[in-house]
Symmetry: C2
Subunit: 288 residues, 2 copies
Amino acid sequence: MKLGAIEAGGTKFVCAIGNEQGDIFEKTVIPTEHPDVTMPAVYQFFKGKGIERIGIGSFGPIDVNQQSDSYGTIQNTPKIDWVDFPLAKRLADQLNVSVKVDTDVNVAALSEAEWGNATDVDSCLYITVGTGIGAGAIVNGTTLNGLSHPEMGHIVVKRHEDDSFAGACPYHNDCLEGMASGPALEKRWGKAGQELADDEKVWEIEAHYLAQALVNYIYILSPEQIIMGGGVMQQEHLFDLIRKNVIESLAGYVSSPFLSAENIDRYIVPPGLTDEAGIKGALLLASE
Amino acid sequence: MKLGAIEAGGTKFVCAIGNEQGDIFEKTVIPTEHPDVTMPAVYQFFKGKGIERIGIGSFGPIDVNQQSDSYGTIQNTPKIDWVDFPLAKRLADQLNVSVKVDTDVNVAALSEAEWGNATDVDSCLYITVGTGIGAGAIVNGTTLNGLSHPEMGHIVVKRHEDDSFAGACPYHNDCLEGMASGPALEKRWGKAGQELADDEKVWEIEAHYLAQALVNYIYILSPEQIIMGGGVMQQEHLFDLIRKNVIESLAGYVSSPFLSAENIDRYIVPPGLTDEAGIKGALLLASE
């Protein structure tokens, strides 16, 4: 089956034609401008190509409730030109295909579960730590959504005892994203993460917040695999700091051989897929 | 179909025979003592009654992974006589039936989703706040388990600014359960919750922790319905304190009509079932 896939991001729309095996036949990148500019180029790319369905991994918030009248409509985003834009409906109408939508992080989790570092398990969590912090999950065989899609980057966190930074989240100040995103790092220390690579205190504090988040995700979701990607996780030494902190914090409370000092490096891992995780996940979503 | 059900708790085993509609034909209560004492009485109750399957809602930690060799085996509990006891296997061997096991809170969530206050939705969260704090969830049509079963009562929480209580959790000190369970209340204030009903500060602090937990559960799981039960939630005024605090904390970040001052009293609710939620949920589990 010929499928369409869109990775709808804040700066670009990656569009591709491929199949459910993840083969990509054709791909293009369209800048994210006003929908009146971006969308006609998207329609143009897909038109006349014989695709039957489209899957979209989108920036949010977006309505992911398939029973809802506004399924696939962008919600209250800071990108004001896109607020209330019915992304799925317009594509369905213009191209006469069925359209499925999920969050960018849920679609990346799908991809990792099919082809990446979570292929042997029934549940997994994919976290990205970059400009923002977001996470997608596979639970009971499909992506996790409910009342809305998860917003795992905005959980309440306990401060590191040496940290007086006010936080960088415009909604909550010192939530996880407000304390541990790339921009939070830069605002707290006055330099970008890459320039701080040798400063131990920077990464001790960063690991404190990220490990705390993982501990809460483990207590609440109990994922069988945790994958961490995004720009901040390019600091590879962070992985071991986080792993050590998670083990200490759990204090032996959850019974699993993976939550031991010997095995945790197989439990908390970087992504198995690189650039194409999003677009391949969107193909999978289309094929469902 | 004639089904067996067990609500396996720390003080008693409730055993029943019923059907998948939740009708209970016969019931008995057996004290939780040493397995050598309790279990023969359990076998005796079910023997010769013509049941085909048994469902168990159990205290934990217990292995809930159906692929595991130790499925249905009690794990590292403070009830040392029960550590490593293969509850499901022994029942299956003694009674020659198939046995399904889940946590007491997951089974209560199943019951609420079928007959209680979460019948109109596809996902829900059932939280009990009493001697301990635990929660079960229905996600994508079935109970949420993964690497292990969730332990949502033990998440990391941010302290209330006026609270210097060290915490009552033997594993983590000041996790959610350590700060907000019934015993935590009693230890912090020197009196049981019921005797503190008129003290506003007590409930402001209690609501701070419980609302914070709900906010994190919402960001991570996005349940369509939240049900709160257990001894501490008998203080009915707590519901409105928690609801108000949740709305303030979310700061409008999650788009849903239920997360508004007008509708939140339909979103965060007490249980619809009373005494028989556990045992009826175990019947449902058996019928799956």
